[in-house]
Symmetry: C2
């Protein structure tokens, strides 16, 4: 679907509804969405094919398909909230995010869409931050913002909130873990109103989505994905900020960290990042000097993309399906190995994986690794 | 003087007196000492030549030569204090120190000479240290010491004292800025007594030498020179510890630094070192894992050595002396350029420089650069 994903074409109203139905259907995530669009040429054709694909993948019952009425209700709800749903193929979709391996097909955006056109730097860290950490986050965000960058963060307590506050005037982007109508933590509703004056809030989740723990790492890939670089201000040993740093590296983003005393547990995570090669930051210029030369360059995928634009394949036969499924188990294997061992064509292997995916039986781990659930 | 400097030969009593007279004579520093030994084959012959060399170098009056009686008094005083004067050519001379560009020809050592045989790590930092810094220094020194390394430091208040205290049991070396009988700061006399139980105190200065500001950077080259690596625990922006780090780099030593908050002025120097490529330390294993593989290897000179073992040259004639001196001025020039521009042999150029040196008219900057004073 080279035409669909070259970011030149707006979606028609009908296409936007089809895209929304497809991504909101059961077992369809961002990677599966892309694979379906590649295979069937449009979201409408993919929606038609879903029940049969899931059945062939061995689903006990076909996954629930989002109805046209539901999709229209979500679009109407978004409009009422002042949010736009921007498609991956559209010019307003943030280009850095479009370059990750699993971009949301539709991104709900409130506030100033133009704030997303700035090159972005993520500033993140502990919820349980020290006074010094809060001051550093706010100062860094202010100064990096003044240098012409947008500041992305997660609206969380602590470092995230300080980063947003420091960059309210220059433009800051809050990435929500839930839908646009679910503000977490609730006491940051006023901060979000302030953010929306110059900046924006983005979400890939449906309106009304109730937050679960798994939503935070999923959201974190958007924080690093929107940004050219992430700056971790304070982070304990095992913390969400370190997960974001890991995702950022997978996405080929620069990782910066603020140092702290070895005796300060809130610096254990950032010091560990520095030992692993993150760039040390004490002031905004440490970030700006590194990021400015790359701000205009196209982003390169850090993670190998397991989607390839190949001509649509014929359907796999029962023997092929059995052979490929037989090679899969709970341990992740690479799609390349599946192709080699099954002696089937890459297109046939991808098709079988798509069927399993839609049957809710496949997990995709990134880097071309898959396993059975 | 390959024989003299290959560290296999002990000095006779007579030679030790001659060496001491030579290094204690006016205008003779460690580099000049080596040049004289190269040219004249022995300290005794060099002492005989000094007045004539200084006169040829244009000295208004010849430099004061240390008398035999003075040297004997110093040796006797050292013995009374329990200090040995170890020559650069002797087996007990610390091999790391022998590898720097300007090692003291004689090193006065009190305490356990065997402590100097351990591979050494310097742990240094601010006198005005924080409680956290003191704790980190003491813990690092203890743990690095327990891993089989000696800990070198400067007996100063703050980080230095904490480093010594942490490694009293495993062996620690105090490098004094003054003579062995000048304990600075005076309140560390008790700490020094404790150090001498297992460790040692070393000095290149004569007994009774009164401390001046210039003695500290000179001493600092011995701290880094004795060590395979230096660890800077806390350091303000412009501080003596950063000078030592600079010297350590010139000497080809590893530089480690402990990170701190960007808001803590005592971490400005260490964070700056980390930005310049020092290795980040939060615990002893960060140092030990890097240093252990190189602990048995011969040290390489970081700084280019401007001394070469060449056959003794004839004396320069008046024209050569005038030509070479005419090429010198207050701006440092390289000895290589002097050879090229004067068309004299390297041996003749070195001889003229030696004469100027002994006349108190030459400054040697290291890296083969010299200028007129």
């Amino acid at each position: 679907m080279a035409v669909r994903l070259d970011r030149s074409s707006g979606l028609t109203d009908q296409e936007r509804i089809d895209w929304l139905r497809l991504i909101r259907s059961e077992h369809v995530g961002p990677r599966t969405f892309r694979a379906l669009l590649d295979r069937f040429g449009s979201a409408a054709a993919a929606l038609d094919a879903l029940p049969d694909l899931a059945r062939r993948g061995g689903a006990a019952r076909p996954g629930r398909i989002c109805s046209r009425a539901e999709a229209e209700r979500e679009l109407e709800g978004a409009r009422a909230l002042g949010a736009r749903l921007i498609g991956l193929s559209e010019p307003d979709y943030p280009p850095a995010l479009a370059a990750i391996a699993d971009p949301p097909p539709l991104l709900a955006v409130r506030g100033n869409v133009s704030a997303l056109r700035l090159p972005q730097i993520a500033v993140i860290g502990s919820r349980n931050a020290s006074a010094a950490g809060l001051k550093i986050a706010q100062t860094l965000a202010h100064d990096i913002g003044a240098a012409g960058f947008g500041i992305v963060s997660g609206l969380a307590r602590g470092i995230d909130a300080a980063a947003h506050r420091g960059s309210l005037a220059s433009g800051t982007v809050a990435v929500l873990a839930g839908g646009q109508d679910v503000i977490y933590p609730p006491e940051h509703a006023g901060l979000l109103d302030d953010i929306l004056q110059q900046g924006a809030a983005v979400s890939e989740m449906p309106l009304g989505w109730e937050l679960r723990a798994a939503d935070f790492p999923r959201r974190n890939r958007l924080i690093s994905g929107l940004a050219l670089a992430i700056v971790v201000v304070e982070a304990a040993k095992r913390s969400g900020s370190l997960i974001t740093a890991r995702l950022a590296l997978d996405q080929g983003r620069e990782v910066f960290a603020v140092p702290g005393s070895p005796l300060d547990p809130r610096a254990e995570g950032t010091n560990a990042l520095l030992k692993q090669g993150a760039t040390l930051v004490t002031e905004a210029s440490d970030v700006v000097s590194v990021v400015t030369p790359i701000a205009g360059l196209p982003l390169q995928l850090g993670e190998q993309d397991d989607r390839q634009s190949a001509p649509p394949a014929g359907d796999p036969d029962a023997d092929q399906r059995a052979a490929i499924t037989g090679l899969l188990g709970p341990a992740p294997v690479s799609i390349d190995d599946l192709v080699r061992l099954s002696k089937a064509s890459p297109a046939i292997v991808r098709m079988v994986l798509l069927e399993l995916d839609l049957a809710g039986r496949l997990e995709r781990h990134g880097n071309g690794l898959v396993s059975l659930i």
